[in-house]
């Protein structure tokens, strides 16, 4: 993905999170993950993405 598009997504997600109460943030991100997984429609790609995102800074 080109940096300008990624930047735009960064802004959209930041604005979406800001629009929610803090306690609903995790539920929103889980719904978003399912919507995107459905769009991707490839379980192996989603599995790799989950592994990638699970790595915490410092690990």
């Amino acid at each position: 993905m080109n940096p300008a598009a990624l930047e735009k997504i960064y802004d959209l997600l930041a604005a979406a999170i800001d629009a929610l109460p803090p306690e609903e943030e995790a539920a929103f991100l889980a719904r978003l993950a399912l919507v995107l997984a459905n769009e991707i429609d490839d379980i192996e790609v989603v599995k790799t993405a989950i592994k990638t995102a699970l790595v915490r800074p410092g690990e």
Binding site: M1, P3, L6, E7, Y10, L13, A14, A15, A16, I17, D18, A19, P22, E25, T52, A53, V55, R56, P57, G58
Partner: protein, 571 residues
Amino acid sequence: MRPANRTNSLYFDAPQYAFQPPPEMDGRGSMHAVVIVGAGPVGLTAALELARHGTASVVIDTKDSISEGSRAICIARHSIECLQQLGIEQRFVDKALPWMHGTSYYRDQPVYRLAMPHGEHERFHPMYNLQQQYIEQFLIDSAQAQPLIDLRWCSRLVDLAQHDAHVSLQVATPAGSYTLESQYVLAADGARSAVREALGLRLAGEAYEGRYIIADVKMRSAYPTERRAFFDPTSNPGLTILVHKQPDDIWRIDYQLDAHDDETDAVREDRIRERVGSIIDMLGEQLSWELEWWSLYKAYTLALDDYRCGRTLFIGDAAHLVPIFGVRGLNSGFADAMNAGWKLAAVLNDDAPEALLDSYSPERRGATLEVFRNAARSTRFMTPPTRGSARMREAVLGLSIHHEFTRALIDPRQSEPYTYVDSTLTSYRHRDAEFKAGPRAGASLKNCRVGDDCFLLDHLGRGYTLLYFSEGGKVPDALLQAMTGMTVCSATARLLVVSAQPPERTAATWIEDPAGAITQAHGARHGSVYLIRPDRHVAARWLRFEATELAHAFAGSLARRTGSPGMANDR
């Protein structure tokens, strides 16, 4: 601010400048061409640019010395090239520390490597670190050696009134007040501009949440000169820190304050020592250090709606305030000074109508707005203003430890010279569009290598320049003829002939291009021509030389009415 036990700098002996009663206080006042309010780096650069074009100026400043602290420390390549045009870059280059890289860390791990464009074909490095005291000192020394510049210290602007044909300024000095009269004024008096106040103008824009402490310390470290940024380091959780090396073993440390930090508490010497100490520990060098200076900094993107108000042009911080992270404050100021300088000189010399000054604000304010777009983004990254942006930054930084795809978002977007593509002084855009490479109409000429220790900008004069790409050194008579009228501020246009063979039948400067590399870099072929303004921006370019259009483009770049249908349609 300085440590309580010390009044002097650890490395810089600030000179004292004495007040000298001006002729006005003797009843020998006269109408000056230009008064520049503010003897900071931007005002002095403008004075030197005016002097280069033969225009005298009076520079007034409240202070009697050089302000404390390193403040604006990063001089971009484009600014060094401005200083080269003034013929004074060598002292800067000799003293400053050049750099081109940076590293960003997240929780102590490197996540982004900044590499600024640089290569064999460049004379100067992309960036130079130099304390502002030195920048000012070198400019003052040059201004003092220039008979066309009348530098007046301890002279405070009290009031200013604009009239039809002149401006009158009330100046307060230790020996009393006097009135200074001038055809034009350059306001270079910084963030709290007295000129702006006197004219009832206000800056408009945004203030950001982030507050930073900027501190200078003296320590010996062999660490190379590069920009280091630390996000959320484990030793100082939550903090964002920037570290820069400067000459004389002075290091600049900028760190963010927490939202709940009290400002008066945060600038107390013991608090500064504690924080700076823990940051130096974090850098992992067992070094002794001495505290030199510190200050509180807040990020703004603020600008005047119009940088021209009648006979007054605003340059530098008096016109715009930008966040420091993009290193565009002083660098924009240099470009403002050069832009305002040659235009004012051309108008005062009757080479251009006053309408030329109308182009100053669109060109330079356009540059500011571009800076704002980049600076707003880098400032929001340095200091996320909301929960959502903090969450997203955390995600980007975390992923960047192992993944490439998010790293571009950490790019600090350092200063890039702005192009005047949309300026009314830039013309024949359909001709420009025919080129496949090279600086486009409105952009500044690249300082490309043309010999062993020889670069394109070394050959520019102080007036207009024509870059002609020739076959076998032949130069059309029509080009030489068109050039005869292109004199500005008594500087005739200079012809640079790029070709494999020396130019025939003319005393033009030969840019030897045996392999055609320079021709290629400019997207040119035999018969192509670039018209370059005194500030080295391309006014127009033609793949095939057109004598009539060249004359119109020259006139248009000076805001002279040309009545050329080609140009009118073009805009």
